[in-house]
Each structure stands twice: as structure tokens, then as C-alpha cells.
């Protein structure tokens, strides 16, 4: 075995040059590509994860919207029902009130008419009776009766005073 120092030095220099050349022209672009691929894979995984989360979120939103719509529809129906019932009640009540009012009015009218009729009847009766009385008195009164009447009035005056 012979140790050749020239070979030794040349090998060191050659290895250094090879290292620099490989590093510059071969491995640097290769590492770049590998890093890029790593990034790509990472991005795709992230993207997939994100779209999955989005899909889940959308599904949840849809469910909630559906729930909301269902609830609103139920509320609307309920409100309509109560409103309808209330309106019906109101209408019935109003009708009843109107009827009562008309009835009362009618009764009042009847009463007043009746009173009026009674009053006029009374006036006529008293006039007629005065008339009749005066005619009877004109025909039948005599001395005796007149005396009796005078006495009676006097007596009445005497008890009243």
C-alpha cells in the first residue's frame, strides 16, 4: 500500500468541487421541488379539512334554518288561530250588544208612547167628565141638592182647618 499525497489532495479538492456543483445545480432545485410538494400536499390536506368543516357548518346552518322556518310557520298558524277566535268573539259580542241596544231603545220608545197616550187620554177623560158633569149638573141640580153640597163643603172645610 502506497500513500500518494497528490491523490489525497486532489481527492479533497475534487470532493469539494463536486459538493459545490451538486449543491448548486442538483440538490438545491431538488430540495425546492420536494419542499413545494410538501407544501402542496399540506395545502391540499388543509383545503380538504377546510371544505369538510365548511360543509359541516353549512349543514348545521341549513338544519337551523329549517328548524327556524318550521317554528315560524307554527307560530303563524297559532297566531292566525287565536286572532280568528278573538275576532269571532268580538263579532258575536258586537252583535249581541247591538241587539240589546235595539231592544232597549224599542222598550223605551214603547214606554214613552204609552205614557204619552195615557197622558192625553187622561186629559181627554178629565175634559169629558167636566163636560159631562156640567151637563148633568145643569139638568138635575135643585135646591135641596145644592144645600147638601154646600153643607158637605163646609164640613170638609171645618175638618181640614
Amino acid at each position: 500500500m502506497s500513500f500518494n499525497w497528490t491523490s489525497f489532495l486532489i481527492q479533497i479538492v475534487a470532493f469539494g468541487i463536486l459538493y459545490l456543483l451538486l449543491s448548486k445545480f442538483a440538490f438545491k432545485p431538488l430540495f425546492g421541488i420536494m419542499e413545494k410538494r410538501r407544501q402542496l400536499v399540506k395545502e391540499q390536506i388543509d383545503g380538504a379539512e377546510k371544505s369538510r368543516a365548511d360543509a359541516e357548518r353549512f349543514l348545521e346552518e341549513q338544519k337551523q334554518a329549517l328548524q327556524q322556518a318550521r317554528k315560524e310557520a307554527y307560530d303563524i298558524i297559532e297566531t292566525a288561530k287565536t286572532t280568528g277566535a278573538k275576532q269571532a268573539d268580538e263579532i258575536v259580542q258586537a252583535a249581541r250588544n247591538e241587539a240589546n241596544r235595539l231592544k232597549e231603545e224599542a222598550l223605551r220608545d214603547i214606554e214613552s208612547e204609552k205614557n204619552k197616550a195615557i197622558a192625553s187620554l187622561r186629559a181627554q177623560v178629565s175634559g169629558l167628565s167636566v163636560l159631562i158633569a156640567s151637563k148633568i149638573i145643569e139638568k138635575q141640580i135643585d135646591e135641596q141638592t145644592q144645600a147638601e153640597l154646600v153643607d158637605q163643603y163646609l164640613q170638609e172645610v171645618g175638618t181640614k182647618s
Binding site: 491523490s7 489525497f8 451538486l22 445545480f25
Partner: protein
């Protein structure tokens, strides 16, 4: 007969032409492979080579994750990748064939340069071998990463890095020092020994002639396995050493 390395001497310095050639070839192959794999980069539809290279990246990331904390060890990913690709290609290159030239009459030339023949009259030169089957090259790699680990230890983790030489007690310092010195030696020589032994074994089996073909097939297959394992082990240990020196674990 042992094969000689084709060595030329220029200005008193020995240049191992085969080693230089193989270093350059391995580096070019590693670079071309890496470039081809990033030629049509695509995020969604990676090509076959890109897939393969991404698998290698994941593999080295796992090594770093096993050895230290991946988040903080991430800056060494390129280092680990360069190491594993370079060493694996280097280990594989020496396996399939060899190129040998014969020289006679005491001299041989390459591109007009005189080859060093160690005073012998006849020689065979091996032009093709794994760059990792040479101790000089593996030690170069090992020292590079060990020195790097010490620098990073001093830069990012100075207190614990310096303290670990005196743990568990101060008189352990020599032992810790020996351990520190042994690290690059074991790291470099393990790789060298495995690959060199594999190539020696191949040349031995080649000497058996036609009878050796089944054995050669088996041994080549095993050498591919060893080459892959050694590339893995070297990268793993590099990350372990760097992690020990520069990344302080919070729990101790």
C-alpha cells in the same frame, strides 16, 4: 504479478494518473446522474430518476434523523448526499472490468509523459479501479468530514465540544484524544479495506481462469452489496461524528 499504478513525476511530485482519472470520472458520473435526475423537475409528476433521487434524499434524511436531530442536522443533507452518491458510484466503478497496459524494456509513456516504473524492467499498469480502493482517497474523504465535524463543533457547540475531551474525568483526556485520532483512521481505512479487498479478490479469482466464472459472479454480487453497505456506513458515521461534535443534546 502485482499491478502498478501509472504514476508520472512532474517536478518531483508523483501524480497517480489512474487515481486522478477515476476521481474525475466518478465525480462526473455523480454529477451527471444528479443533473439527469433534476432535468425535468416536477412537483406532481416526477420522472423515474427524480423519484429515485428523492428516495435517496429521504434515505439520507433518515440517516441524519437516526444519527442526530434532523432539524438541526438538515444543513448536512447535501454533504451526506454527495458522500453517499460519490462513494457508491466509486465502489461500483471498480467492479465490472479493469484496464491494464503492459510495459516492457523498462519504460512506458502516457501522452509523452514517462511513467514511473520503480526501477523494474517489466510492469503492468492498472488504469481502472475504484477511487475508494485507494487509501489516499478514502483518507481524504474521512479527514474532510472529520475536520468539518471538529470545525462545526468549535463553531456551534464550543463549550460542550471542548468539555467532552475531559469527560467523564479529566484524566480521560489521553483516551479521548486517541479516540478522536482514531475516528478518521477507522472511517477512511474501513472503506479502503473493504473495497480494496474486494478488488484484490476479483483479480485473484480472475487468475483461476474459466473455472472462476461462477465464483466471480458470486463475488461481484457480494461486492455490490459491500459497496452499498460501505457507502451507507461512511455516510452514517459521518453524520454520527458531526452530530456528536456539533449538535448538543439537551438531555445530558
Amino acid at each position: 504479478m502485482e499491478h502498478l499504478s501509472p504514476i508520472v513525476i512532474i517536478g518531483g511530485v508523483k501524480f497517480d494518473l489512474a487515481a486522478i482519472f477515476m476521481i474525475v470520472l466518478t465525480s462526473i458520473l455523480a454529477f451527471v446522474l444528479a443533473r439527469l435526475s433534476v432535468r425535468n423537475l416536477s412537483v406532481e409528476n416526477p420522472g423515474k430518476l427524480q423519484n429515485f433521487m428523492e428516495w435517496v434524499v429521504e434515505f439520507v434524511s433518515n440517516i441524519i434523523g437516526m444519527a442526530t436531530d434532523f432539524k438541526r442536522g438538515r444543513v448536512y443533507l447535501t454533504l451526506g448526499l454527495t458522500l453517499i452518491v460519490y462513494i457508491f458510484i466509486g465502489n461500483m466503478l471498480g467492479l465490472p472490468f479493469n484496464i491494464i497496459t503492459e510495459a516492457h524494456h523498462g519504460h512506458a509513456t502516457f501522452l509523452g509523459m514517462e511513467l514511473f516504473m520503480d526501477g523494474k524492467e517489466e510492469a503492468e499498469f492498472a488504469w481502472w479501479k475504484s477511487p475508494t480502493a485507494d487509501a489516499a482517497m478514502t483518507m481524504a474523504l474521512a479527514l474532510t468530514v472529520i475536520v468539518l465535524s471538529h470545525i462545526q463543533g468549535l463553531r456551534h457547540n464550543r463549550k460542550h465540544y471542548l468539555k467532552h475531551y475531559f469527560e467523564p474525568w479529566p484524566f480521560f483526556f489521553p483516551i479521548n484524544l486517541i479516540e478522536t485520532l482514531a475516528k478518521p483512521l477507522t472511517l477512511g481505512l474501513r472503506l479502503y479495506g473493504n473495497i480494496y479487498a474486494g478488488e484484490v479478490m476479483i483479480s485473484v479469482i480472475m487468475g483461476m481462469g474459466f473455472i472462476g466464472i461462477p465464483a466471480l459472479l458470486v463475488w461481484q454480487g457480494f461486492s455490490i452489496f459491500v459497496g452499498a453497505i460501505q457507502a451507507f456506513v461512511f455516510t452514517m458515521l459521518t453524520m454520527v461524528y458531526i452530530g456528536q461534535a456539533s449538535i448538543h443534546e439537551e438531555d445530558h
